[in-house]
């Protein structure tokens, strides 16, 4: 991917081939395969046919939004990850399937994220990010049961999901022996602390817009995806 950088395009938050050693990408692949299998088993029980289009639209929107890099600071950009958005609106299980689909299409057709790194990318963005967002959002909205509390919960959940994905990617890259953890971790978390603010703002706006569209009652709305959302 490095050859395209001069054209001003980005390698992305997605890990390319070459950053992970065999032990790490096989391990991450096994973990994420298990997580995706669990998501398939879970959604088989709860997903209804009328909810399928919502998954398609969410996947399409996340793919499109991931193309739009926003500048953060010092010549660095970031883009929406979407794990929090999908988890908050459709639940973490559906979110896992949505992000996995996006990652597979990105890898196959756009070479965004490597083939060997697919397992790690699925683990970071389709498993860790949605679940961290889901957990954080539940925790914070239960602590502050108000409209403002829910907005804060969504923002914090989004920020945390990006930081968790960046932390996981740092660990995978460092444990592969690519670069020492003490070098990669502060750099990754530093930039993603800024990128996470963009994630939070976009997620808050989109969730509030979609919630209003669906006519769902806040803060204790029923998810359209089999009640597994927030």
């Amino acid at each position: 991917m490095v050859i395209f950088i001069s054209l001003g395009e980005a390698v992305d938050v997605h890990i390319p081939d070459g950053f992970l050693d065999t032990r790490i990408w096989v391990g991450a692949g096994v973990l994420s395969a298990g997580a995706v299998a669990a998501a398939v088993a879970k959604t088989r029980k709860v997903l209804e046919d009328r909810q399928v289009p919502a998954l398609g639209v969410m996947a399409a929107f996340i793919f499109a939004a991931q193309m739009v890099n926003f500048p953060v600071a010092g010549g660095t950009s970031g883009h929406l990850l979407g794990g929090a958005l999908a988890a908050i609106l459709l639940g973490p299980w559906s979110a896992g399937l949505i992000l996995t689909t996006v990652l597979i299409i990105q890898m196959l057709f756009f070479y965004d994220g490597g083939l060997t790194a697919l397992g790690a990318n699925v683990l970071n963005m389709a498993v860790i990010a949605p679940w961290v967002a889901y957990g954080t959002c539940r925790l914070v909205s239960n602590l502050f049961r108000s409209s403002a509390g829910r907005t804060a919960a969504i923002f914090l959940a989004s920020w945390m999901s990006v930081m968790a994905a960046a932390l996981a990617a740092s660990l995978e890259i460092a444990f592969s022996g690519t670069v020492p953890l003490k070098i990669v971790l502060p750099a990754m978390l530093g930039w993603h602390a800024l990128i996470g603010i963009g994630e939070g703002l976009i997620t808050v706006v989109v969730v509030s817009f979609v919630s209003r569209l669906w006519g769902l009652e806040q803060p204790e709305q029923k998810s359209v995806a089999g009640g597994e959302g927030l």
Partner: protein
């Protein structure tokens, strides 16, 4: 969650992919920036294992960079939508789907 809203949702995704993506910040993003700064970006060079159709979101054979990105975005958005739909229908086989498939016609589940 009616059909009209979902069509609007897909339209929004297509508009974002077609009209916002050419204006995306060209700066390196999170991991790329770190890999550049910390000197391990070269490890990804020449390690591509597959030949993707539209590497780096550039539609092949289009001279204009902006248009190539827009087209790649449109194709990708539709691909993701179709893949998601198909995967859910084939793998998850959602409840209440007996007798009608995504197109409203019968299917074999």
């Amino acid at each position: 969650m009616n059909k009209k809203n979902l069509l609007w949702g897909l339209l929004v995704a297509l508009v974002v992919a077609a009209f916002l993506s050419p204006f995306a910040s060209p700066s390196p993003d999170g991991l790329e920036r770190v890999a550049e700064d910390k000197g391990f970006l070269h490890l990804a060079e020449g390690k591509e294992l597959i030949h993707a159709l539209m590497p780096d979101y550039v539609f092949p054979g289009v001279a204009s960079g902006g248009l190539a990105t827009s087209l790649a975005g449109l194709v990708g958005t539709l691909l993701v939508f179709a893949a998601m739909y198909l995967l859910v229908w084939l793998v998850i086989r959602p409840k209440g789907s007996a007798g009608k498939g995504p197109s409203g016609k019968g299917h074999l589940n």
